[in-house]
Amino acid sequence: MSPALEVVLRTVGVLAAFLVLPLVVGQAEHKVMAHMQGRLGPMYAGGFHGWAQLVADGVKFLQKEDITPAAADRAVFKLAPAVALVPYLVALAVIPLSPGVVAADVDAGVLFVLAVSAVGILGTLMAGWASASKYALLGGLRAAAQLLSYELPIVLAAASVALAAGSVSLTAIAGAWQPSWLLWQLPGALCFLVAAVAELQRPPFDMPVADAEIVFGPYTEYTGLRFAFFLLSEYAGIVVMSLLFTVLFLGGWQGPFSDVLGPLWTLLKAAAVAVVIIWLRVAWPRLREDQLQRLAWLYLVPLALAQLALTGVWVVFTA
């Protein structure tokens, strides 16, 4: 296979995954949330249990007028949805489904994914700043504060697994995973999951878009396709974070017949993690802004540091 063709194939593969997986997660959210509330959720679009609801939503958003507020910083305002969405596409490219199934096998995969997904929040901040609206500005600053607080526990928890595996390559970490990690990396895993939900600005950590307080935060002024991109980036973020959690803490493709069913195992585990993220949204109320900061600095950071110390001691004494 010629290198050029291979690049095209890999790119198309990532793009397809990027277009399909967030919609699957979004549809799962519609249905799971509905049934958790005793409802049915979408039932008509597409015929079978409303499978095409999000496609229909996309078509609707496409037809809406694209409004830019008069006082907005036009260039930044228009660029923000792309800045929010593209990083997750880039992150998706380096997360391995199995040792062979990965678009770009980066050596420092953990660092790359964490750095890139942090850029995504920059899009929210840009949207909040450029909208020329007090609600958007408040929401944007909340998002920035949230990013600053929760980036630390997420990096520390990821560092713990990297230390245990002796590598920062995602493929190597998942390869070195043992079932015993489920136990002794549990605090780090919980830390990572909570911080990931907070980074995605999902309930119960959705203060940046708290609709009861600040309309819809940074996305207040957005309409049409640009608004849809922000929503899509939220679901793409769930996909990336679920896959990352699977690879780091759940052993990725490890499981029965992993040489054949490897990618399927990764996707299955990631789907379970995504459902948990949806579940948290349904079950728990939104935290207050100060409670959010308290949780990060008083509980998550110390917990992640303790996990890191435990892993360090373990590695020193067993290696």
Partner: protein
């Protein structure tokens, strides 16, 4: 549909304080709801089970209406319109008296005004008005909610049969009257002195 609300601190053994138990309880509740069938009534696809005596629309049995106007006059928001004229019926027998009767020309109910109080149905002395459970008569224009007697009569087949009487209840007046034995023929007063054959009562012919 749902259990009555019981505050958490009234349930024996339920966690009432602390951060984690409450959060776990929230997860458990949503997971339990997920495992149960949903409550959604898929209305346009599945018809709802309406309770008996549902007040959907008012149906008119035109044959029973005597244009007495009681319903129109009792209606609190004056949403019933009745027009009628008198018709003369020639005498049925030679030399008899001609009779008159009311003929209903128009009977309309404006359902944009009707408040579904049911007073017209209660007040109708001849059971010309009935509650029908039919409710799918929405219109795009409010003026189209004024329904004439033809439309009101179309709802008559949807009127449910009256509910059965309670066990041990008294018989309805109509049935009691119909099932009463016919009045017996009067027995003639026995003659005081002479034995006479029984027969039709003599029209005080006997001076006795």
């Amino acid at each position: 549909m749902t259990e009555p609300y019981v505050p958490a601190h009234h349930v024996p053994g339920s966690p009432t304080r602390g951060l984690l138990p409450g959060l776990v309880k929230g997860l458990a509740t949503t997971a339990r709801t997920l495992a149960r069938p949903s409550h959604t009534a898929e209305y346009p696809d599945v018809q709802p089970h309406l309770p008996p005596r549902s007040r959907g629309v008012i149906a008119l049995l035109e044959e029973n209406c005597t244009s007495c106007m009681l319903c129109a006059r009792e209606c609190p928001d004056w949403c019933i319109y009745i027009d009628s004229h008198k018709e003369t019926i020639p005498a049925s027998t030679e030399g008899g008296r001609e009779r008159q009767r009311n003929v209903l020309d128009r009977f309309a109910i404006d359902f944009s005004l009707c408040m579904y109080c049911g007073i017209c149905i209660e007040v109708c002395p001849f059971d010309a008005l009935h509650w029908s459970p039919e409710f799918e008569y929405a219109e795009l224009d409010i003026r189209d909610l004024l329904h004439e007697k033809e439309r009101l009569g179309q709802w008559m087949p949807t009127v449910p049969v009256p509910p059965a009487l309670d066990p041990g209840a008294a018989e309805p007046a109509e049935i009691a009257a119909a099932s009463r034995p016919a009045r017996p023929a009067r027995t003639p007063r026995p003659a005081p002195t002479t034995a006479r054959p029984a027969g039709p009562r003599p029209a005080s012919a006997d001076p006795a």
